[in-house]
């Protein structure tokens, strides 16, 4: 591979992977904060307001990190992928500013109000601010997904003689079926991150024996949201997304499953290592005919393997794609198991005393991040070798004027910068956790102020 192409791909991959650690939590927490604020209004209990305020602070830290790592994303379309923006700007140029104009203004304006304006608003007004933040963050997610969905499944465009794509139908772009499945799948994934984080925080406080009342609320809201979202993640959203790939990118499906040979009654590989040289799977454990059923709802259906497609159209990195996909699916299954057990204990009223389960909830907090990241790796590696599926190859999209060495310089710069940001982030979150959801007595605050 051309080294400039490799550097530009790594540049985007690194910055977007780091970036998405933050929005997945804010998008996941936003509806949960609305739930807490609603409980506060309904039950007229200050506990829920304190809980909402605590999570709003965590949200705020994540939001700032999301913004400062998000601006580079919007810039990189032009800086590192200028040929892509030149050709596709007429279409993806619609959804990118739509995010800024509709979602980002809403979210940033009302987050400021939500965080610093509680005293200036009525309880009802503050609730509306939470709703506006929720709407803003979810709209923002939609426009980004719609952009990606167009790259995965280009619709509603015409191609002009100079090779550039122009929008032919706005609603066609917004109603791209791929976008809606991907959005649903992505957002329930974000709620999983939010729910696991909230449950883990509650579990941590319960295990430490601090902030018991708030901690129980956290665990309860986290587990209820967690079981709903982890089930939605598999069905219908994961299934729908899979159908999209099966119909629009069959070669990607074959690579995700490492199905080298076309066959009727294709098996689903649970565990095994793809061997691209020998074109088979080492040490496989499979469910026979399952892949055929999941894809076509028939046990003996013919599934196209990689051999049905020319090798230059295969995703280049089949092992990484395969592992990303299997890690995502495996973790998704484990999330359901964890949340079912936790919900059962919650229903029986035993969860808060089941220390082993609280430990499980606490220790599971990194895994939704890994699953979401692996899911995006699957989507993006699976799209290769195309930048716009079937229309523009990745090696046609990057900035020719930006040399590999300049790209490497800024990539290293971002790595250094983001390491510092990551450390600061952990440090600040730790402080909030230390501080906890309960207000400090006014006398103490005045002393530190």
């Amino acid at each position: 591979m051309d080294s400039a192409l490799l550097i530009h791909r790594l540049h985007f991959a690194f910055t977007i992977t780091f970036h998405y650690l933050f929005p997945q939590l804010t998008m996941g927490l936003a509806p949960l904060i609305v739930v807490l604020k609603t409980l506060a209004l309904r039950k007229n209990d200050e506990i829920y307001n304190q809980a909402a305020r605590f999570w709003a602070k965590i949200f705020g830290i994540n939001f700032v990190l999301g913004v400062v790592t998000g601006i580079p994303m919007e810039f990189q379309f032009g800086t590192n992928w200028s040929h892509f923006s030149r050709f596709a700007g007429g279409v993806i140029g619609q959804t990118l500013p739509l995010e800024g104009v509709f979602a980002f203004f809403l979210e940033s304006a009302f987050l400021g109000l939500f965080l610093y304006g509680e005293k200036r608003l009525s309880p009802k007004g503050h609730w509306w601010a939470a709703i506006a933040v929720f709407l803003g963050s979810w709209l923002s997610g939609f426009f980004i997904i719609a952009t990606n969905a167009w790259m995965q499944n280009p619709v509603a465009y015409t191609r002009t003689p100079d090779g550039s794509f122009q929008l032919s139908s706005f609603w066609g772009l917004v109603l791209n079926p791929w976008a809606w499945w991907q959005y649903a799948h992505n957002m329930s994934g974000a709620v999983i991150t939010g729910a696991f984080a909230m449950a883990a925080m509650g579990a941590f406080y319960l295990l430490c024996g601090r902030h018991q009342k708030h901690a129980r609320t956290f665990v309860k809201v986290g587990v209820v949201a967690g079981i709903i979202s982890s089930i939605l993640q598999v069905y219908p959203t994961g299934d729908g997304q899979g159908q999209m790939i099966a119909h629009h990118q069959p070669v990607t499906l074959a690579a995700m499953e490492a199905l080298f040979q076309s066959q009727p009654g294709a098996p689903l590989v649970l565990i095994g290592q793809p061997n691209t040289a020998a074109r088979n799977i080492d040490n496989p454990i499979v469910i026979p005919e399952m892949l055929s059923f999941l894809t076509y709802r028939r046990w003996r259906a013919q599934v196209q393997g990689l051999d049905a497609f020319p090798a230059e159209d295969w995703p280049q990195n089949i092992p990484l794609l395969y592992y990303s996909y299997h890690i995502m699916v495996g973790l998704g299954t484990i999330f359901i198991a964890i949340m079912v057990v936790a919900a059962f204990l919650l229903w029986r009223g035993k969860l808060f005393d089941a220390r082993w389960m609280l430990w499980v909830l606490l220790l599971s907090v990194p895994f939704p991040y890994i699953a979401n990241t692996a899911g995006w790796f699957t989507a993006e590696l699976g799209r290769q070798p195309w930048l716009v599926y079937g229309l523009l190859r990745t090696d046609e999209g990057y900035s020719r004027t930006v040399s590999a060495s300049n790209g490497l310089f800024t990539l290293l710069g971002f790595m250094g910068m983001y390491t510092v940001l990551g450390i600061l982030f952990l440090f600040l979150v730790r402080r909030e956790i230390e501080h906890g959801p309960e207000p400090v007595p006014a006398a103490l605050e005045a002393h530190t102020g």
Binding site: N80, G93, L98, F105, S108, A109, G112, L115, T401, L424
Partner: protein, 348 residues
Amino acid sequence: METLWFILVALMLTAYVVLDGFDIGVGIIYLLLGKTNRERRLVLRTIGPVWDGNEVWLLAAGGTLCFAFPLLYASSFSGFYLPLMMVLWLLILRAVGIEFRTHIDNGVWQSFFDGVFFLSSVLLAVFFGAALGNVIRGVPLAPDGYFFEPLWTNWKIGPHPGILDWYTIGAGVVALAALGVHGGLYVATKTEGPLNARARGIATLLLPMLVLLTCASLAATLSVRPQVLDNYKARPISFLIPIFVFGCLGAMFWAARKGKDKLAFAGSSLYLAGMLVGAAFGLYPNVMPAATDPAYSLTIYNTAAGRHGLIVGLAWWSVGMILALGYFVFIYRKFRGKVRLEAADEGY
């Protein structure tokens, strides 16, 4: 249609400069402004709830540029690769400086983040000014519409200019002074007592410098790119723009003397807008003049997206902007008035 989008993108960039300009300006004079920890917290609180909303204008303007003029977006962003990446790092550092300072009650920690906030604001102002300078001066465009500019070459203007030369650095200094004044006048409107007086004092001190710099930048621009006068000569009424700019400077002087802070801040906002409108008017219909062969210049016509997309965009853009303006008016009203520190307050 292309002209309309040229105006709309210019409007969004102007909104960005006027809005984010004041919080960058606050950073520029931050160390002079706040002498004690208490004062610095107050200063930060004046921009705390609004700065990231202001920054969204940059994001929205960048996205709209990509939408309306894809080739311009592609060419300029890849051509200004290095300085843009540095702008991104500076934006990150500045956000860190603002948001992370108050989280620990330790003098050294706070001084460190004060320094980060100050330095990144200063450099951002210079970079943004230099960016505008580059656009006016022209860049070494190739026939395919792309270019790549090194950070500097020989500091002179010629067919192979760098990002930084005497003219663009000059533009950076003008931006530094203009935003410094802008920030000072903003803080004056939001504070009371000694802080209010000091903010106004710094702005009044910088004002004469700004007047001189404005005159110098005008003269320099005319020598670097005399073509900017063409549009003015074609429509003499447009000479009202520079007159308006100087009128704003005069109004700022007068209002700052009289202690009419809001009026002075309004004057400074209009001054910034006037400068940008003046530059945009001089460039039109060019959006990126070529320093090589004028035939390679990027104009609104050879960079615009397809007609259908531009028409559709007009619909959602208008709705979105009305909503965004609504939010901004609402938020600024909610946070109107002077800032104070209260014992049990959250944040900053």
